[in-house]
């Protein structure tokens, strides 16, 4: 009897909470964790901005392991959360099988294209943003050698690298770019120790500006660069504040805007592929008090001019993922 009461009570509590959660949006963070100061944290910032402006509530979930992706996704969709936003390409395969089971729920996935009628695929033109910071790196470098440290070795990160190299060469055709990847598995997104080692190795080879496109691993790169007295470039979020005066700029990938817009649209979320490019302010470089002294007027003028040319189509930055090759290295 008492056991039954407990169960009924619990069921009622659950029913009430799930009722309240109806049509709340939900956000799932990928393995790097919510506070990676980079990719996932940008998504978190977007969700928080939405919460502050609308006073609404949202559900969030951090992935614990590869194997639980499907369970987490289904569970959130079942609670009536709408839309369900997830960060990272790794959800692509799972979403492809889950989305058809919930035709009335809208999903948004960042960094991956999933062709389902109820999915919004948000992709960024990282090559354009990386091109701009590449120009800045080349102009700030005194040695003529700059570095790139990627996270997991996947086409997406090579796209960052390729855009960066193109930008570097555009500003200084004689510059050398050293490229390293942290690893080949998702663990590479969260390995700041290895990031720091790679940064020190690149410095030893003469690099004096290092661009980190590596999620949580980038924290180690930025730290090591600051310790070694060279400049670094952050990614995804504005990371200039991590080491004021030592981070040249950050390649802003407005994951926060993507999440914010998805939350704001709610169940009426427009599906299909959504390209966040320079024109849509999906990517760009950051300028604030922390790096104002590092970015010269000349640098700013050159980069802004290049940005305008990219927008107008005068400069076309090659997208690595379009053919899996890079014209420069």
């Amino acid at each position: 009897m008492t056991l039954k009461q407990t169960f009924l009570g619990a069921a009622a509590t659950l029913a009430l909470t799930s009722g309240a959660a109806l049509a709340d949006p939900a956000l799932i963070f990928d393995l790097g964790g919510k506070f990676d100061k980079s990719f996932n944290e940008a998504a978190f910032a977007g969700a928080e901005r939405w919460k502050e402006e609308t006073g609404g509530t949202y559900k969030e979930l951090e992935m614990q392991s590869e194997a639980q992706r499907e369970q987490a996704l289904r569970r959130l969709a079942e609670t009536g959360a709408n839309p369900v936003v997830m960060t990272g390409f790794a959800f692509g395969d799972v979403l492809n099988t889950v989305a058809p089971d919930f035709p009335d729920t809208k999903f948004a996935i960042i960094d991956m294209v999933v062709e389902q009628p109820n999915v919004r695929s948000v992709v960024f033109t990282e090559e354009q943003g990386s091109y701009l910071v590449g120009m800045m790196a080349a102009m700030a470098s005194k040695t003529g050698t700059v570095g790139f440290i990627g996270g997991m070795d996947i086409p997406l990160i090579r796209k960052f690298a390729c855009g960066y190299v193109q930008g570097v060469k555009a500003a200084n055709p004689d510059a050398t770019v050293i490229e390293n990847m942290t690893g080949t598995t998702p663990a590479a997104w969260n390995d700041p120790v290895k990031g720091a080692e790679l940064a020190k190795a690149q410095k030893a080879q003469g690099a004096d500006v290092i661009y980190a496109a590596a999620g949580g691993t980038g924290i180690g790169v930025l730290q090591a660069a600051a310790d070694e007295g060279i400049l670094s470039i952050g990614v995804d979020s504005n990371q200039n504040h991590l080491h004021p005066g030592k981070v040249l700029t950050s390649m802003m990938k407005r994951v926060d805007n993507a999440v914010y817009e998805a939350f704001k649209a709610g169940p009426d979320l427009e599906t299909g592929i959504n390209v966040m490019d320079l024109t849509a302010e999906g990517v760009g470089y950051s300028l604030d008090d922390n790096n104002a002294a590092l970015v010269t007027d000349e640098m700013k003028a050159a980069v802004d001019a290049a940005a305008e040319k990219i927008k107008s189509g005068e400069i076309s930055v090659h997208d690595y993922m379009s053919d899996n090759t890079c014209p420069v290295s």
């Binding site: 619990a10 069921a11 590869e66 194997a67 987490a72 395969d93 089971d101 080949t184 598995t185």
Partner: protein
């Protein structure tokens, strides 16, 4: 004379251990400012309160049955196989190789072949540590745990460089063909006209796990090999005196153990994920140790302990979903249960034995 009656040994001791673990967990939850009663309710309703919860609980329990049996069989030969994680990882590789090799016409054929693949790969991964133990005396605990790392690295290499489909960024194999899709309990209950366990991964492998429990019981207590394994486990010199070869028995016990651990992958890789991914085992290899300890290496005990850990796993997942209790704390709760049921077993057992002796004494005198 036994100090404890059987029912107390099998039921009471683990039960008290679990209750103690929950009490400590409740204190921890209280300390971080959450309500432990509410947390327990969420775990109970989430794992056992609906057919959906049961579906996941049984799915996890299936995993733990295999790994628990694996550890239990090795225990009977007094070998501590803590390489279940690596053996299950390799079992997953076996399943993937088999499933991707052909366009399977029917799931029964695919299941039979995948079972063989999983068992062979799992056993092969246990074979090297087993041989080193049997022939060279290299301690099995050291070698099996090292093989876990080698297994993880091997899978890592294969998924990144060899088995990843062209154009995919995810380190995982392609989806298995449709013919290799195992029927879930939902499919089976739907066919019987009373659909249950909708959209849960519990599948036909559950019955293989139950059959494995029976088979291990038969093996250990009803066959000559089982007798030899137990004799060897109790006393090696006595076994040698009786003409039992330590090398053979060590090899047999650990190969069977590895095969059972590998078979876990039928459930996880073939039944749920339907492709081989990194870290598909999710620590089930280690939980198998706790399951075997708690189940006192008896297949029925393993079955019950697997259910308990299935409940903890699914309840923990629900807790992470519905509360702000951080995910690390759920691991703490699971660890406390392992600590109390496994390592601190005697803390409960000894006072209980004294209690039973004290209760029995007047009773015994009365009989005299």
């Amino acid at each position: 004379m036994k100090r404890l009656p059987d029912w107390a040994d099998v039921v009471l001791v683990p039960l008290i251990s679990v209750v103690l673990a929950f009490v400590i967990s409740a204190l921890v939850i209280l300390a971080i400012g959450e309500n432990p009663v509410e947390a327990l309710q969420i775990m109970l309703t989430g794992a056992l309160g609906s057919a959906y919860g049961w579906g996941y609980t049984l799915y996890y329990a299936t995993n733990f049955m295999f790994t628990g049996l694996a550890v239990a069989v090795a225990f009977h030969a007094s070998q501590f196989n803590i390489g279940g994680e690596g053996q299950a990882t390799l079992g997953g590789l076996g399943v993937a190789v088999v499933c991707l090799a052909f366009d399977w016409p029917h799931w029964t054929l695919a299941l039979a072949a995948a079972t063989v693949g999983a068992a062979v790969f799992g056993a092969a991964w246990a074979a090297v540590p087993a041989w080193l133990q049997a022939k060279r005396g290299s301690h099995i605990v050291i070698t099996t745990i090292m093989f876990n790392f080698i297994g993880a690295s091997l899978l890592n290499y294969l998924l990144v460089n060899v088995m990843r489909p062209v154009g995919s960024m995810d380190p995982a194999t392609a989806r298995f063909p449709a013919g290799a899709k195992l029927p879930t309990l939902f499919d089976m209950t739907s066919a019987l006209g009373m659909p249950l366990f909708k959209s849960t991964p519990v599948n036909v492998t559950l019955f293989i796990a139950l059959a494995a429990c029976v088979a291990v019981w038969l093996l250990i207590w009803r066959t000559r090999l089982g007798y030899m394994i137990r004799a060897f486990g109790r006393s090696e010199p006595a076994a040698v005196y009786a003409g039992i070869s330590p090398v053979k028995i060590t090899m047999y016990a650990l190969l069977i153990s590895g095969a059972l651990a590998g078979m876990m992958a039928i459930n996880a890789t073939m039944g749920e994920q339907k492709r081989l991914i990194l870290n598909a085992v999710e620590g089930a290899g280690f939980i198998g140790i706790a399951v075997a300890l708690m189940g006192r290496s008896h297949p029925f005990g393993v079955f019950l302990a697997a259910l308990l850990f299935g409940f903890l796993f699914q309840g923990g997942a629900e807790l992470a979903l519905w509360t702000t209790i951080p995910r690390e704390l759920i691991t703490v709760i699971q660890a406390l249960v392992i600590l109390f049921t496994g390592a601190l077993d005697n803390m409960v057992r000894m006072p209980l034995e004294r209690l039973f002796l004290a209760l029995r004494r007047p009773d015994g005198e009365a009989r005299r």
